[in-house]
């Protein structure tokens, strides 16, 4: 059997997957340090002749090292199959039955070592995979939380924007409903009046958005002040409101006074029957009066007298 090349080649092919590292482990393996798991149906003890063979091999290597002391050749890594093959070659003189037994034991050890090594590699790969999966899970959870926060912020922003727009529409509706003409006023609103109404409302909205200097350069105070002299209350109302909004800016107070805004407002406070228009004109006068240079002008144009008259009229007992 020892000299049977078919059996030998079969054995070598079965243990051909082992590495040199495994082979060295076989060489230094002691019976007490065998791997815990073994293939079923095989003895778990290590054959004693294996360690003896390893010792012999080690001694042989030591001798060869002593001989070639001055020259250190590169160590070739042997596979388990090669190592076992070498070992079996040295035991060719055994009887066929013994040799077969040795072959089987060596085969069992080699397979056990290879299995153990593969299990270790598999465990290591599994641990690596688990850690990667955990890391990916953490990344995914953080990504999901970030996405959720972003979505919540966007929803909040959208709701806020919706509320703002709704309030803006409500303010516009209130503005429009405030300036419905009274019974004495002219109810006929033609296309030109409607254009002026839209213009005045747009100016009221734009006073916070458009730069003040741009509005001054465009002559907005003078135009709005001139709109206060229109006979239709439907036009005068939005114009007075736009002028009141415009007068909130410090730069426009002097311009409104210079454009005749004080006089127009005084006339409306004295004569206009529409309460919202009177209120907007009072607001314009109050805002314009904050400019120090306008204070004497207010007295001269009759604004103080008109405001006092409004207070006196409202406090008269019926």
């Amino acid at each position: 059997m020892l000299t049977n090349p078919v059996l030998f080649s079969l054995f070598c092919s079965r243990v051909g997957g082992l590495t040199k590292h495994d082979l060295l482990i076989i060489a230094k393996l002691e019976p007490n340090t065998l791997p815990p798991r073994r293939p079923p149906g095989r003895p778990s003890s290590m054959p004693s002749h294996t360690s003896a063979a390893a010792k012999a091999l080690h001694e042989e290597q030591q001798k060869s090292l002593n001989v070639t002391k001055n020259f250190v050749a590169p160590v070739k890594k042997l596979t388990i199959a090669e190592e076992v093959g070498k070992k079996l070659k040295r035991m060719q003189d055994k009887s066929p039955a013994d040799f077969l037994d040795i072959c089987l034991r060596e085969f069992d050890v080699a397979v056990s070592l290879q299995t153990s090594a593969m299990r270790d590699e598999f465990d290591e790969a599994l641990n690596d995979l688990t850690s990667r999966a955990n890391s990916m899970e953490r990344n995914l959870s953080s990504l999901m939380s970030w996405k959720q926060q972003t979505c919540e912020a966007k929803v909040k922003q959208a709701l806020q924007q919706r509320d703002d727009e709704r309030q803006e529409k409500l303010n516009l509706a209130n503005w429009m409903s405030q300036f419905t003409p009274s019974s004495e006023a002219n109810k006929d609103v033609d296309e030109v009046d409607f254009a002026f109404i839209r213009f005045a409302l747009n100016m009221a909205v734009a006073c916070d958005i458009c730069p003040v200097q741009k509005q001054l350069d465009a002559g907005a105070p003078a135009f709005l002040a001139s709109m206060l002299r229109v006979k239709s209350d439907s036009v005068v109302g939005p114009a007075s409101m736009a002028l009141a909004h415009l007068s909130l800016h410090t730069e426009t107070k002097a311009a409104i006074a210079a454009a005749g805004g004080i006089t127009a407002c005084v006339d409306l406070v004295n004569t206009n029957p529409n309460a919202p228009i009177v209120a907007q004109c009072c607001k314009t006068l109050a805002s314009v009066a904050m400019w120090p240079a306008n204070k004497p002008l207010m007295a001269g144009k009759g604004a103080i007298k008109a405001l006092v008259r409004a207070i006196q009229v409202s406090s008269l007992t019926p």
């Binding site: 607001k283 006068l285 009066a289 007295a299 207070i311 008269l316």
Partner: protein, 174 residues
């Protein structure tokens, strides 16, 4: 329940217009002695006193109190005219009904008016007799934090006040 608008012309002058008119007079009187005298000479004080006693709108009451404060600031004549129109009693009334913890603006403005009205010993006696000191120590914490209480108790004087008109912008959310 006090009426908010009792005059025959109440369809033309509502509370918003009335408060804004007070604001306008307040700003005209701020820093201008001639305008203070003109406003007082136009005999507005009786109307102010009547409105302070009968109106409940906080904007109107606060604006009227600021007008009194500005009229009485650094001017003995206008302060005396205000006191002769019983404005200190009207301020007391406005604090009691329109002030309270809900409207600290009214309290603060009225305390400023008291402080400015008390610009000489005679006026201080007058204001003290109207119960202003008692009100000053009873006002809400919002007004007690202000310097006006210290001024009225210590006889100090506030500067002229500017009154911003209530203008609802289109971008206002409230």
């Amino acid at each position: 329940m006090f009426a908010q608008s009792v005059g025959p012309d109440n369809l033309r002058i509502d509370d918003d217009a009335l408060g804004s008119a007070f604001c306008g007079l307040c700003n005209c009187a701020e820093g201008n002695d001639a305008n203070r005298n003109l406003i007082v000479e136009l005999d507005v004080m009786k109307s102010v006193e009547y409105i302070c006693e009968n109106w409940t709108d906080p904007y109107v009451l606060a604006s009227a109190a600021k007008l009194i404060a500005n009229l009485a600031y650094s001017n003995v004549y206008t302060a005396m005219m205000c006191l002769s129109a019983h404005c200190e009693e009207a301020l007391n009334m406005s604090i009691r009904k329109g002030g309270g913890d809900k409207n600290p603006d009214v309290q603060e403005a009225a305390m400023m008016a008291f402080a400015n009205l008390s610009n000489n010993e005679s006026n201080q006696t007058h204001v003290g007799a109207s119960g202003a000191i008692e009100l000053a120590v009873q006002v809400s914490p919002a007004a007690r934090r202000s310097h006006t209480c210290v001024n009225i108790i210590g006889g100090g004087v506030n500067k002229g006040q500017r009154c911003l008109p209530h203008i609802v912008r289109v971008t206002d959310t409230h």
